[in-house]
Amino acid sequence: MRRYRKTAYLFLTPFLAVFIAFYLAPVGYALYLSLFVRKRIGVGPPKEVFGGLANYMRAVQDTDFLIGLKNMFVFGVVQVPIMLGLAILLALLLHQSRGFFMKICRTAYFMPYGIPTAIGAMVWGYLYAPNLSPFNQILRALHQGTIDFLSPAVVLFSIANIVTWTWTGYNMITLFAALQNIPQDLYEAARVDGAKTWDIVRRIQIPLLLPALRLLFIFSVIGTSQLFTEAFVLRPLGYLADNITPNLYVYLTAARDANYSYAGALAILLALLIFVISGPFLRRIASR
């Protein structure tokens, strides 16, 4: 038994070493940093002194940060259901179709996932540019006016669109694979019992997709909390609020304002929040 444990650790070492060095240690360091505040004594550069929970007190009163969190929730509530709904629909359609057409569609839907997020966001940035946007050119031709996709009121949804474009295919493939795993005899039994296609979807396919769907939902929620690249890439193209996503706000606090300890506190709070939200779901999945 003991020998087996040793072997297990041996196999785990490469992972654990990297996990500790590049994951746990930075988190620990951020936690440590977050307990300090900048203080000036006389002339000269400020000193970092122990400040207890001062940064956390500041964070929970920071309207900019709270608005960032609100943006995150709005984004999650709107974008995640749309993306997963689309993914289910596409997976079901693909499952119904056969042959060459299906293969082409499957690859085409999945392709955006293979494009690096930054590149995808740059291409979308071009498509969103008020005067160059082909969407606006079409709207103009139809005399429908134009949309400024990068204006403060719209840009969150423009980002949501990029995320949906990137991730729907990935979610679809996962659901499609889950559909392939449903035993054929279930369908046959249903048909014998006189089930229509819609009945099969509602009573067999969707229920059996639920475990996979739950997992994808968790991934999407976590992904929503980590939104950064799209906003960061679109930023130079117009005015994007610092707090359009909480992660961007944390980044700017650290990298732009050089306030690492406050950024550390914000990051820890954000992580805790996501943990609280996704924890119960994860536990339900793990218990199955």
Partner: protein
């Protein structure tokens, strides 16, 4: 030299023997008075580099910059100083580099010996204690080789020297002569004339062609125009700072532009975007208020489209016959990091890079980077009609227009450690101004108020005042106003 020729050209005559020596000596003295000026024009002056002794032994300097092609200067330096190797690393422009630099400073290692930093971002590195005051290595001695206002940018208090000026961005009006001719526009010399031409063009072209683009996402562009109007944004008094983003000087400038924006006589496209370059390249924008490095960037970004159609004219003034003034947009210096093991060699390199003729001239003729060195500014070698940026402007001596602009830049213009925030927050207020939800005054007031919220990260601020005190303990609540 000149005085010896003078001596020989007056053959002594016996009759005037008594008066002649006096006259000749006076003449010689008079000529000598002008010698420094003559020398500055005819010969390129460089500091005596032997005064800056590097550390002993073989040295490798790591240099971070985003000037493309600066690595070509490295071999020239290595030839002159064989003990020192230079490794040039382009780690990204502006904020991309700053983030890496701040991280390295915070980590205490991993940074370069020499780094390029824009003037407006310099104080944020001084305050994080990352860069060396190189006056202790004698850098103060080369002050006279640089344009005074650029030196002031690196040495705000006149004592500490935080960097050596590399390039400068005095502003001028770049205009497309073809469009100007087509619509019968005249080159404006005052802002009143400018507004008239903007109106004329917008009406004549049915709003299809705009005189200029009001740059909505580059605070330093606006600040340069305010600088030309005599504004200063920050002032350090010992250990406290004053910030005045909403001063009357700033207000006058923004109100002028807000009016043009409201009437739709100017475009409001973010600069450095495909959309901006498309608009300029397809002649939808007739002119652009550009810093000295601007024509070079445009020539490159437009792939020489519309090349030769452009001309540079002095920046319009607020009133006719006033003392000519310009402002600065951008420009950067080279700093020495405290982490450097070879601060003396790094100081030497920074001075050489920005004072030596080779790299200074090459920066302009190859990359359109405008010198901060006085000799560079005066050098006729900047005028190369067949090379950009002159070529882009139909062979015009672009450097001369910008050299005159540089002389007209107000010398005192300090920045603040929290400028990075001020820079970004400008975009927010201007977006509201363009959307019509804020007036110019409201936008500036909001900019001022928002930007006083961030100094707590570095200092404490008295609520509601423009004074920022950099000493004392932060107040957990009052110091961070929540709205």
């Amino acid at each position: 030299m000149n005085n010896s020729i003078v001596w020989r050209s007056f053959p002594p005559s016996p009759a005037r023997r008594s008066a002649l020596p006096f006259l000749l000596w006076a003449l010689a003295g008079y000529v000598c008075l002008f010698l420094p000026a003559l020398k500055a024009q005819s010969t390129y002056q460089e500091p005596d580099y032997s005064k800056f002794q590097p550390e002993s032994g073989p040295i490798t300097l790591e240099v971070w910059t985003w000037v493309v092609g600066l690595d070509k200067a490295a071999p020239l330096f290595e030839k002159a100083f064989p003990n020192i190797k230079v490794h040039v690393n382009n780690v990204g422009a502006g904020p991309t580099e700053y983030q890496k630099l701040q991280t390295a400073i915070k980590a205490g290692s991993g940074g370069p010996d020499v780094a390029q930093i824009e003037y407006d971002f310099l104080p944020s590195f001084v305050v994080t204690d990352g860069i060396v005051d190189i006056s202790k290595y004698g850098a103060g001695d080369v002050k006279s080789f640089f344009v005074p206002w650029t030196w002031g940018q690196c040495s705000p208090d006149g004592k500490a020297v935080y960097g050596i000026p590399q390039d400068s961005g005095p502003m001028a009006l770049l205009y497309n002569k073809k469009i100007f001719d087509q619509y019968g526009l005249t080159v404006p010399t005052t802002w009143d004339e400018f507004a008239q031409q903007a109106e004329k063009l917008a009406k004549a072209s049915n709003g299809k062609v705009m005189l200029v683009d009001y740059v909505p996402t580059q605070a330093p562009w606006f600040i340069g125009l305010a600088w030309a109007n005599g504004a200063t944004l920050f002032k350090q008094n010992g250990d406290s700072w004053t910030q005045s983003l909403n001063s009357p000087e700033c207000q006058k400038v923004l109100e002028f532009w807000a009016d043009l924006i409201k009437k739709k006589y100017v475009a409001t496209i973010p600069d450095f975007t495909p959309e901006f370059y498309t608009a300029v390249g397809s002649s939808q924008i007739a002119a652009s208020i550009e810093a000295a490095w601007g024509p070079g960037v445009l020539a490159q970004s437009l792939n020489d489209k519309t090349s030769g159609e452009w001309q540079v004219a002095p920046l319009p003034q607020w009133s006719k016959g006033q003392t000519f003034r310009s402002g600065n947009w951008g420009g950067s210096c080279d700093v020495v990091l405290k982490q450097s093991k070879y601060p003396k060699a790094a100081t030497l390199f920074s001075i050489w890079l920005n004072a030596a003729k080779g790299p200074v001239i090459n920066n302009w003729t190859s990359y359109g980077i405008f010198p901060a060195s006085l000799s560079g500014l005066a050098s006729s070698d900047l005028n190369q009609a067949d090379k950009n940026p002159s070529k882009f402007c139909g062979g015009q001596n672009v450097a001369q227009v910008y050299a005159d602009a540089s002389k007209a830049v107000n010398e005192e213009f300090p920045w603040s450690p929290w400028f990075a925030f001020v820079n970004d927050d400008y975009n927010k207020q201007i977006a509201a101004l363009i959307a019509g939800t804020m007036t110019a005054k409201q936008a500036l007031d909001a900019w001022q108020a928002d930007s006083l919220k961030t100094p707590p990260a570095m200092a404490t601020t008295s609520k509601g005042s423009s004074e920022v005190h950099l000493h004392g303990a932060p107040r957990p609540r009052g110091a961070f106003p929540s709205s």
